[in-house]
Amino acid sequence: MERREFLKKCVMVIAGASVPLSALTLIDPKKVLAANPDIQWAFLVDTNKCVGCGFCVKACKTENDIPLEANVTRTWVERYVYTKDDRRYVDSPKGALNGYTEARIDLGKGEFKEIDKENVGKAFFVPKLCNHCSSPACTQVCPVGATYKTDDGVVLVDRKWCIGCGYCIMACPYAARFFHPVLKVADKCTFCYHRLSKGLDSACVNACPFGARKMGNIHDKNDPITQIIMNERVGVLKDEFGTKPQAFYIGLAQEVR
């Protein structure tokens, strides 16, 4: 074979192969396999409605097999108390698993602080959970790719592949992640993905008696939740980290971090 002919044939082979190969990029398997590419889940918390009953925490732990008494939780409620003499107290005993039935503030190390009712300036509750960020720091740092973001916007953990290095726990600015005490892998809120995919509400949304927690598809302009996020004044937690959180808050105080 002459050199000229050899080169000619090479060009032909490359040209011929590029057509079927380009199909792989045109038909991105990821996109084809994604069940509902039009869905982008978002969470909406109305802090004005939360009373700190802790039903959401209990429902979440029960639904997702997180041991009730273990000191980790996928969702939790924080209590903020501001006194008239300009002091601020925050606590979240056991993540508010049993609700806030006591007025005293948990200071950790078994110490408590009684606050005179007359001295309370303002007080409120803030429910928290994984923000399912658009650019999550946790999935970026996973060394094995065991945690990932689904096409409909939910950040999940592959329990069979996680090596338990804890880097994702370190990377999350919201402390939404922890090690599952029994399974020994990283764990976090999944927006109850197993329920969502069946058309059900997540456990915490379902359990909230006051409608402080809601979920919606932010890609659907007619979704009532999307409407609220679009039309009302909502905030997100710690936007300075650039993670683009997808949990929105109505009535967010600037002290809430």
Partner: protein, 432 residues
């Protein structure tokens, strides 16, 4: 009993050694404990020992010849230990290999396996080039023996395998080894720095952590790595030489029957020169490391961003003793003064190296544990209490004894490696 068991199973990772104070988020614990302190410490020692050996191999600083070869062997003994703390801290240690199988390259840890293996290959190659002549000579000597004992038979097999079939020890061949060795050491320096600089990157790139996040972190880590590596090499070198001196004076081991064995005076003289030169380099790198660390601290204090309030409380109040007394005063300033004052002796330098090693360890401790000493809410604190008496496998692994196991392993490995590749060879036996 059942309740107790259930409660035990409910213990969350980190709960055993974390003391939470004021408002901390429910999921916050000190997840990265003593083993993650050991990880950069041990990796730093590897990198530092290698850099010291390269000073001779690449830059041809003849006076460091003996300590350079010692450092190279020691660096090889330290190598597997850099990985140990990582495996010990994993919640799923048997899945550790997944990092090599499905590396997720946006993660700073993902490349660890590859960088680490590359580095391991470089050190192994360099060692082989240095010791090839010795392997061949030993194998030939064993072959020549008439009535070989079974142990000698095994040794013959081992050394024959180690030659990898390259039996040529003519002057030209040895000269080629020398050149190749120089090249490997040259490649090795950037790889060693990368191996460790990137351990710094693992911490420095965690944007959620106010204390860790600084682009200076990798550079600080490299400088302190070299400091600790050089210090450990000097220390071990002095200790090993003391043992040899002791053996020489008591005529133990080879000194009993080998008339060519070095005398006590020879050992003493060689030690003095090498230690003095190496400790100069130690001081240069100490200045660099300290400058960067202080720069970082001043910068934080001067810019006073949102996190400064809580960082100030951790650095200036809660961890003041650990940072300013243990790390800077005892671990940096004191050894520096010991070395820089006129009339430096080997003994004084040795004491200084012990303090330096302690200082670098405290620096790793203050970075890793200190970075987790405050809550992400900036309203609470977490204190770490090192588990001493283990009550389960976790408190052993991530407790005092786990850390001691990691710290002791390189010396055990060195003992065995030294049997095959003696760190101290006589002039005519060694290639270079």
């Amino acid at each position: 009993m059942v309740g107790q068991l259930a409660q035990h199973a409910m213990e969350v990772h980190g709960e055993a050694w974390t003391i939470k104070e004021l408002f901390t988020l429910p999921n916050e614990e000190i997840y990265w404990s003593i083993q993650i302190v050991m990880y950069p410490f041990m990796t730093g020692l590897v990198a530092g020992a290698f850099v010291l050996s390269s000073l001779y191999h690449v830059f041809g600083i003849e006076k460091l010849k003996e300590i350079a070869r010692f450092s190279l062997v020691f660096s090889f003994a330290l190598l597997p230990v850099a990985m140990m703390p990582l495996l010990l801290h994993l919640q799923q240690p048997f899945r550790g290999i997944n990092v090599m199988m499905t590396p997720h390259f946006t993660s700073a840890i993902a490349a660890f396996g590859f960088v680490f293996s590359t580095y391991g290959c470089i050190v192994a190659t360099e060692l082989w080039l240095v010791y090839r002549k010795y392997f061949v000579q030993t194998a030939l000597a064993l072959k020549a023996q008439k009535n070989r004992s079974s142990i000698d038979g095994m040794r013959l097999l081992l050394f024959t395998a180690l030659t990898l079939g390259a039996w040529d020890i003519s002057d030209e061949a040895v000269e080629k080894d020398h050149k190749a060795c120089k090249i490997m050491a040259g490649i090795g320096i950037p790889v060693a720095c990368f191996l460790h600089g990137y351990a710094g990157f693992i911490f420095g790139s965690v944007k959620a952590n106010a204390l860790w996040m600084t682009p200076l972190m990798p550079v600080i880590f490299i400088c302190s790595a070299v400091v600790s590596g050089v210090a450990l090499c000097i220390l071990s070198y002095v200790v090993v030489q003391e043992i040899r001196k002791f053996m020489a004076s008591r005529k133990i081991s080879r000194w009993a029957n080998d008339p060519n064995a070095p005398t006590v005076e020879q050992l003493e003289g060689a030690k003095h020169v090498e230690v003095m030169i190496a400790s100069n380099y130690l001081m240069y790198f100490m200045i660099a490391a300290l400058t960067l660390e202080i720069l970082d601290l001043i910068f934080r204090g001067y810019t006073q961003v949102k996190s400064w309030d809580i960082l100030r409380e951790v650095i200036m109040e809660r961890d003041f003793f650990k940072i300013f007394i243990m790390q800077y005063a005892i671990g940096n300033v004191l050894p520096f003064l010991i070395m820089v004052l006129p009339g430096r002796t080997v003994r004084r330098t040795t004491i200084a190296t012990v303090l330096v090693l302690f200082g670098v360890f405290m620096m790793r401790y203050n970075v890793v544990i200190g970075g987790q000493a405050f809550s992400l809410s900036f309203s609470g604190f977490m204190d770490y209490s090192l588990p001493i008496i283990p009550h389960n496998i976790e408190t052993f692994k991530e407790g005092l004894f786990g850390a001691l196991t990691v710290a002791a392993t390189p010396f055990v490995l060195f003992y065995f490696i030294n049997k095959v590749m003696p760190a101290f060879l006589k002039e005519e036996e060694s290639t270079h």
